[in-house]
Symmetry: C2
Subunit: 156 residues, 2 copies
């Protein structure tokens, strides 16, 4: 099976939404997805977008994706690559597609002179953690994530 | 005491580096800071920068800062505001400067139509957590942070 990893174009917007929903379903968070094709077209494909997407294809069918953006390290003074979403279609797992996507992300981080690559994992998602540990990534459990959600922002 | 919150300009680059070092010192991580004034000038003040800075001033002296960038929620399809660094000079604490900076960040998130505002806190930094809890922010302990550092990226 031949796998191609490529940067997404605006024509992929509906596929990106399908993949987002697929990942949310796996994370048991599908009821939170309110994103739309139109919103994806606007933010991923505007000039100087803040958010980017890689698509993994097999026989011209999308079988995986990664959504990423660039963050910053005040310590190193360098950009970082932040992996927001990473998903392989359940019918196409165990074929090395996730590794191909992750390797492509590392290559982008190298090309962009990034000083780090960050992401988060749900604490019950052991298969994902096992995958990341193979790359030598370590959990940074001393850092706790905080958030104000949309309602809190509006009411502050 | 009159406090002004303003967006940083390229002339603030050395002040930004001082503040970064001040925060790193408080976090007991100062030995990791390799950032430079030149690197700050380049990444904060290029066209379409990925990273931004607010400065808090009292009597024309910088007394606090926040470094932030925009991230993305695949669930909402909206941008988010990510707070990377947030620091008030130790000699100027207890005067509400942190609250003024944080309120200005919330206002920027509102103006930019953000669906969330995110940040991380070191697990021993109870004063910071107490501050954030006043805004209704909650720790998201189910999400574990992972990272590949610069050496791991180079050797992958």
């Amino acid at each position: 099976m031949s796998i191609t990893i490529r940067k997404a174009t605006v024509e992929d917007s509906s596929i990106i939404l399908e993949m987002i929903k697929g990942l949310a379903d796996y994370e048991k968070l599908a009821h939170y997805v309110t994103n739309t094709v139109e919103a994806i077209e606007a933010l991923f494909f505007e000039p100087n977008p803040i958010v980017h997407c890689l698509i993994a294809e097999s026989s011209s069918k999308a079988v995986g994706f990664a959504v990423y953006l660039f963050n910053y390290s005040t310590f190193s003074g360098k950009k970082g690559l932040y992996l927001e979403d990473f998903f392989v279609d359940p019918d196409h797992r165990g074929l090395g597609i996730g590794q191909r996507i992750f390797d492509a992300l590392i290559q982008i981080a190298q090309e962009e002179n990034c000083g780090k690559m960050d992401w988060v994992v749900l604490d019950w998602n052991q298969p994902a953690m096992d995958f990341y540990h193979k790359y030598g990534a370590k959990p940074m459990k001393e850092w706790i994530n905080y958030r104000l959600n949309e309602d809190q922002l509006k009411n502050s």
